[in-house]
């Protein structure tokens, strides 16, 4: 049985000291999305991420309500895309990068020509030079994308 002072101290943490769960991150290995064509690769990436993460926001909110603690950020981290991009060239990489750049899963289907090429390219140069870079996607919009 819990003691009253324990319950009150937790209430104090939550309400007076703003205790929250800062971030829940869903990590996905996307190495199995490798494909000979960019169209296929983007489709597999989109299917994998939306398939695994479509209920991330809903689930986090449900857990947050159960315990009475806010979960502020819901994120997805995918394994290094440099593995997928090997052999596809920089132009193809821009298509994948657009996903993280726009934080929007619909971007999976898009190529880079509707983005600002200068901004993307400068970011992408950093991305492809750092082979350990992981793309983090703001998943707060995943729920909207799935609706």
């Amino acid at each position: 049985m819990l003691r009253t002072d324990e319950i009150l101290s937790t209430i104090q943490m939550l309400h007076a000291e703003s205790l929250d769960v800062r971030t829940v991150t869903l990590a996905l290995n996307v190495d199995d999305c490798a494909a000979p064509s960019m169209d296929s690769l983007c489709r597999k990436l989109r299917d994998k991420i939306t398939g695994r993460a479509s209920r991330l926001v809903e689930t986090c909110n449900k857990v947050g309500r159960k315990y009475g603690i806010p979960i502020v950020n819901k994120r997805i981290a995918i394994s290094p895309v440099s593995h997928l991009l090997a052999g596809h060239g920089q132009a193809a990489a821009l298509g994948v990068f657009a996903v993280s750049y726009r934080s929007d899963f619909h971007a999976m289907m898009c190529l880079v020509n509707d983005e600002d090429p200068v901004t993307i390219e400068s970011s992408l140069n950093g991305l492809i030079q750092d082979r350990t870079t992981q793309i983090a996607i703001n998943a707060n919009r995943v729920g909207n994308a799935a609706e």
């Binding site: 324990e6 101290s9 937790t10 943490m13 205790l19 449900k62 309500r65 315990y67």
Partner: protein
């Protein structure tokens, strides 16, 4: 619960709080070679109350036992003793433990309002704490909620009641309190 001896009794004592109450009660039990099998005691605003399961090798008359513990009426002990019978086992239903906290301006009927709602949902209150300070009232209930209940609906109903009573209410799984206060990982 299996008691130490076959003849078991449940004992309830209420009196003004002062040192030596437990000693006086246990002395009476000990004089009859009894055993204390379970006990819970608390003090509320200067009043002491205790519930105890005790057992003896030989049968004891509950009223005689109560009278003996009551002792000198000048002590002001209110004592009730009765035969301890294991509660009839309820059908096993999965339950989860939650904590209800409610806070607001005190007025009559708050505990009734929440407890009637919980009773209507087959929710058992394991522990209840209430305290009035200035004009504010704090209510904390540790609850056993059947797993079949939809938590979101319960929370919405309780918030509705709270809004009508101008109270703030929270219903949270107990593990948030365990995780933030105790080094107790398995439940």
């Amino acid at each position: 619960m299996k008691t130490q001896f076959p003849h078991a009794y449940v004992l309830n004592v209420l009196t003004g709080d002062h040192p030596g109450i437990v000693a006086a009660i246990t002395r009476s039990v000990n004089q009859r070679d009894g055993n204390i099998d379970a006990c819970s005691q608390t003090v509320v605003e200067g009043f002491f109350t205790l519930i105890m399961v005790i057992s003896f090798a030989q049968p004891v008359e509950p009223d005689a036992l109560a009278s003996e513990i009551r002792g000198d009426p000048a002590h002001g002990f209110q004592v009730v003793a009765r035969n301890f019978v294991e509660p009839v086992s309820k059908p096993v239903t999965a339950v989860d433990r939650f904590v209800l906290t409610a806070f607001g301006k005190d007025k009559p009927g708050i505990v009734r309002r929440f407890s009637e709602y919980l009773a209507g949902k087959d929710i058992n209150i394991l522990d209840l704490f209430a305290h009035r300070q200035s004009d504010d009232f704090l209510l904390i209930g540790q609850l056993e909620i059947p797993a079949v209940r939809d938590l979101a609906l319960l929370q919405a109903d309780l918030e509705q009641i709270a809004a009508e009573e101008a109270f703030t209410v929270k219903l949270q799984h107990e593990n948030i309190f365990v995780a933030t206060n105790q080094l107790r990982f398995e439940r």
